[in-house]
Each structure stands twice: as C-alpha cells, then as structure tokens.
Symmetry: C2
Subunit: 411 residues, 2 copies
Amino acid sequence: MSKKNVMVGQSGGPTAVINSSLAGVYKVAKDRGADTVYGMLHGIQGLLEEKYVDLSEHIHTDLDIELLKRTPSSFLGSCRYKLPNSKDKPEIYEKIFDILNKLEIDSFFYIGGNDSMDTINKLSDYALEKGSKIHFIGVPKTIDNDLAVTDHTPGFGSAAKFIGTVTKEVIRDGLVYDANVVTVMEIMGRNAGWLTGAAALAKCEDCEGPDLLYLPEVEFDVQKFVDSVKEIMKTKRSIIVAVSEGIRLGDGRYVCELTDAASQVDSFGHRTLAGAARFLANTIAKECGCKTRAIEFATLQRCGSHIVSRVDITEAFQVAGAAVKAAFEGETGKMITLKRESSDPYICTTDIYDIHEIANVEKKVPREWINEEGNYVTPEFLNYIRPLIQAELTPIMTDGLPRHLTMFVKR
Amino acid sequence: MSKKNVMVGQSGGPTAVINSSLAGVYKVAKDRGADTVYGMLHGIQGLLEEKYVDLSEHIHTDLDIELLKRTPSSFLGSCRYKLPNSKDKPEIYEKIFDILNKLEIDSFFYIGGNDSMDTINKLSDYALEKGSKIHFIGVPKTIDNDLAVTDHTPGFGSAAKFIGTVTKEVIRDGLVYDANVVTVMEIMGRNAGWLTGAAALAKCEDCEGPDLLYLPEVEFDVQKFVDSVKEIMKTKRSIIVAVSEGIRLGDGRYVCELTDAASQVDSFGHRTLAGAARFLANTIAKECGCKTRAIEFATLQRCGSHIVSRVDITEAFQVAGAAVKAAFEGETGKMITLKRESSDPYICTTDIYDIHEIANVEKKVPREWINEEGNYVTPEFLNYIRPLIQAELTPIMTDGLPRHLTMFVKR
C-alpha cells in the first residue's frame, strides 16, 4: 500500500498565527492517517534544495502543538521565491516533482498570501498536465487581508487586535502633556488599507480613537493632510494620525519616496516601504511648529504573538484542517476560504475555491467603506472587522516571557 | 478639626504602571482616613493654574481601581516643568502654597523620576523654611530605572518585560528568510542602558537572544560595531542588535546626531533622541550589502499596558501606599525606595530616603555589569533584572481590546 505522506510549507511575510495553521495541518493530517508530515524549510526555495524536516521530530506532545500555535513568525522559515512558468523553466518543476515523488507525497499544502497561491496555482496546473496524483491546496495567511474570495484572512485579526490595542495606548500616551502634539503612526499595507483602518477600532467608550486615517486606496495629498491637521488642532491638543506605508501621491509616487530613506526591492519586485510617517511628522513640525512623533509599528505588528485574537488563531487552525480534509478527499488546485454566515452573532465556516481566481489578485478596502474625504473608515468597515479581534489566547509564560516552539537554538 | 486632604500629581514621561501608583495613593489615603484626594492635572504646572480634580468623582468602585491600575500613560496628565529656585521666583512658591493651604492639603505626593524628585526637594525645603506643616513625599516612577538609592524603579519591570517579549518575537521574525539580515532595535534610555540591557532577557532556552547590545554607559565606535557585525555574519544569517537611543561617540555626539533627523529640546534641556537605529542599519546596508531593518520601540515601550509585570505593577501600588503611610506619620522631604532583601527567592520591601540624595542624580548601569568589549550585559545584570519581569496582570478586555479608565472622552 502506498504511503500517505504530506508536505507543508510557509511562504511570504509571517504573521502571529501562521504557525497555528502549521499546527492545524500537522494535527489534522496525523489524525486523518497521514504517515509522515514533512515541512519544507524556507518554502519552495528550500524544497528545491531538498531542505525539509519530518515534523514529528519537532512536535512531540499536545503541549508542543499549543506552543507552536503561539509561536510567531514562520516555524519552518519562509521565502519570497517566485516560481517561474513551467514552460520557461521545466527543469524546476521536474525537480520539485522528483523530490515529492521520492518522498511519496500525497498532499502538498502551502500557507501564504497571494504570491504563495500563485505557487499552488502553477504546481497544481502542472500536476494535472503531467497526470500527477499529488493534491495541491492553498492555506490562506496574510496580515494584509488582501486575498480575494475569502471573507478575511487568518493573520489579519491578530494584527488588527495588536494595532487597535497599541493605538489605544498611543492615544493615551499622547494626552500626557498639556501641549500640542501630532503623532503619526505608520502601519503595514502596501496597496490595501485593511490594517490602517483597524486603528479605528480604538474608538470606543473609553477612547476617542485616532483622528485621521489614510489608506492606500485613496490618493494622498500632503497639503490637504496638513490642512486637516490644522483644522483639528483648533479644538484638540493631541492629534493621532494613522497612515499606511503604501500611501501614494497623485503622480503615483509613494509618500515614503519623498524621504531620503534607502529602499530595497524583493524578488517579487515589491519595494521596501518605510518613512512615510517620519516624513509627514517632519512636515507637520515645520508647518505647525508643534511637537510631532513618528511611530512605525514595523515588524511588531506581524509578530506580536503575545496578544492574538482567539477568533483568528482558531480560524488559522481550522482553515488548515479544512485544507487537509479537502486534499485527502481528492481536491487539488484550490484554496480554503472563510465564509461569514453572520456578523452578529459572528458565524463563520470554511469553504473551498478555485485557486485560479485567487492567485495574484489583491482585495482592497471598498471605496464605500472609506469616508468621502478619504480620511477615515465607515461604521460598516468596523462592523466587518470587529468580530475578528475578539477574545484572546494567553501566551504560555516561562520565567516572565512568552514561550515559543523553535527548531534550532544555538546557545 | 482640620481636614486631612491629599494632593497627588504625576510628572515626567509616563509608564505602563504609573497609574497603579496613583491608584495606590488614592486607595491607601482613603483607607487611612483622608477626606478629599485631589489630583493635579498635568502636574505642578497645572496646579499653578489651579487645575485639579477631586479623584472620588472619577474613581467610584473597586473595578475602577483595577481599571486605573491597568491604564497606561498618566491618568492625570503630566508635565516637564522645572520648578525654579524659591530665591529666584518666590511668587511661584507663594502661589503653590496658597492653593495647597486653601484646599487644606495635609500631604502632597508627586509620582515621577529624578526631575520630579527635584520638585519634591524644593517644595519640602520651602515648607520647612516657612513653617508649613504640609508633608511632601516622592513616589518613584520611571521606565529608565535611573533613580538613585532605590534598588529599582516602578515602571522599569514592565518596560523590561515588554522589551524582552518583543525582542523574542523580533528574533523569531528575523529568522524567516534564508538570507542575511541585520535588525537594529532602538530602545529608550538617554544616559542609562537598563532598558537596552533588558533585551538580553530574550536569551533563554527557546531563543538565542540578541547578538549585540550597546548601552550609553560605553563609548560607541561605529567601525568597531561594523566589524562585530561582519564577524558574527560569518556564522549567522540573522543578526539582532539593540542600541540605546542615547549612545554617543567618543567626541560626545549622539549617534542619532549623525542623521539629518530633526531634533527638539524640552524644558529640562533634554534633546529628543531618535534615529540611531536607522543610521546604523543604513551603515550596515552600505558596508555589508545585506538587508537591514531598523525598529524603534518608541512610545510603545512606555505605554504597553497590555503586557505588564505583576511584580512591577504591584510594587508601583505598594510604594504609593508606603508614601501615604509615611506622610500621614509625619515624614516629609523623602522618597520611598525599594529595598531588595533577596533575589532568589525575590523578596523586596519598601524603605524611605532623604530626597536630597536622590533628586537630579542618575543611576547608570555599573561598568562591571557590561562585558569588556562593551557590547553585552553580564549574567549579574540579568540576575538583577529577571525577578522584576515575573508574572502578569491580565488586561480587562472589552469587545476585543483592553479597557482603560479615562477622565474625559469626547466622542
């Protein structure tokens, strides 16, 4: 009888709950009779170098599963490797399938965002074309929430919870001195403003929330921004602004390009964006003569596993389980999606969808969920997002710090 | 019979647990028979404008006390007002004492760092000189841990716990790609490196910890830093560096002055420091040709009340209670200190000390707690710090976010 072996990988930027999906693939695959669950190291790029591990050598107990769920960043390592077309580089595909066949892989799972779904897309097409029986299923993951079809994406809820929490704290901090101060927070999101909009979650009974939000979906105008700040300053001393790293001017340039900050380009051609908040804070300091602060949430917003949404980390596990079930039942070339049945009460199930409709597509914040002036989100946006940040999953603390599951620690 | 009224204020930069001290003053003063507990708004500067509140109008229940303890930033607002000498500006002192006498204040508490202790120093001296019976007691607070005499300072343990936690997460995040990446984290601390040293807490069973730490106590050499990074890069792909915002070159200039970032000066003459990490990351990018990241922990490290040390938040309450007890028993011109009886098991009590020996003095990290090369802390440093980050005090969550107690929320 042939083996039922599984290969799983993680790709793209990490999230606070990406390892909950890895735990989900491992646990559900084992429970459903998988023989060996292999994890490729650093995604498809590592696999091409035959770098993989037998996950059972690293996950021994149920406590390990719980630790893995709470471990930020990609346990297996990640990559930003763009798989070329099989027509252009058939040898790469041959190599991948040689390795998979040698390991008797039945099902292949890739946990990632739209770039990663492109990989599943290409591999599943190639498999069908060549008559391979390997099943390829995508497991959605991205803090950016920009995957198509799915209601939302695992990783987003926890990043949104972190951003809402920290925004509340920054707002309180901004009220400390009896002086005008403008704080500009820079939040991740290259083309989609889901995370920047999440800063508005801070607006609740005990907090006024941020004053201005700028999403990449709306063209940014520096002068209009300065005017808005000046207007608010007439009645408020501490002003809090959240901007997406990806806001652009009318001429298409990123606001961060107005600074002298070095910028780098990754293998998908994405430029590293940083510096928009600093530039805008400096602009306000000059124009208004008041104290300003620039705060980049930076990496913290994607690795903040010490405060995660329980809804999110649970769904991250569930989509992975659904992926295993689908593959084991014969599906391929699909991605698991989340399907919201109801917002109040929040009811969400998993579904499955053709990967061709998802790969490389970016889902942006609908224009009607941003106000007319383009500087805040609407109540509909917040109603959509609020259920995704509910409840917590407490870290397992050891000697004062959260404990993680890790593969290799040199000391 | 005369009233036993209390005045309490908060001064200087906030911490995650400064309101636990405010809660301690309020609760213990009330329990010990205080009539009215007034809170000055924005410290002594607000008091001079007769801005104060009756705290019982804002704290109604034990739940309010619990919320106040968990609220970051200064509930009453803060200031950076340097009280002039009474000889130079007697009218300011007359005004303060007029207000205090009118309110029948018996005891005056100021929660702050060494600048704030200067205020207690001057007011208590003036009171003795003029025969006033008002008691002035300092309640220590600062994330910087740079107050003299006291073993450590409330606020430090929680900031250290936040830094240790986030450093672990950043280290994990840095391992994601199979590529060389140097991450430079910038941590608060103008002249004292206690917080930067706290990044080394991340070094434990499941984490290698940061690779290099640079404290302001040791002269910084850019070339030596680059050489150290290149040396480590021979055997490691992801390198994590923590630098204090206040590191200086041999000629006395701050490293952040090597950038073009705007810098501002507050009323104590302290320059706003920011940009050292960005400068060093850019330097490494040029010198080593690898990807680099700069992460400023910024305000988050002083307002991160969603992850506090229970030891710290409890001690913040206790020093405040001890201050009330001391004042009510007739003490003045003193600051409450923390006295460590033992590290293992950790036993710490409160004591009281002459404010003249504390005001304006900065306690730095002893040179022998930094290694010879000046790029890491010793085990003794970590043994000192580890008990201060133990245990947690869970936020009270409402609708997915931590709830705070706030005075004025316009919506």
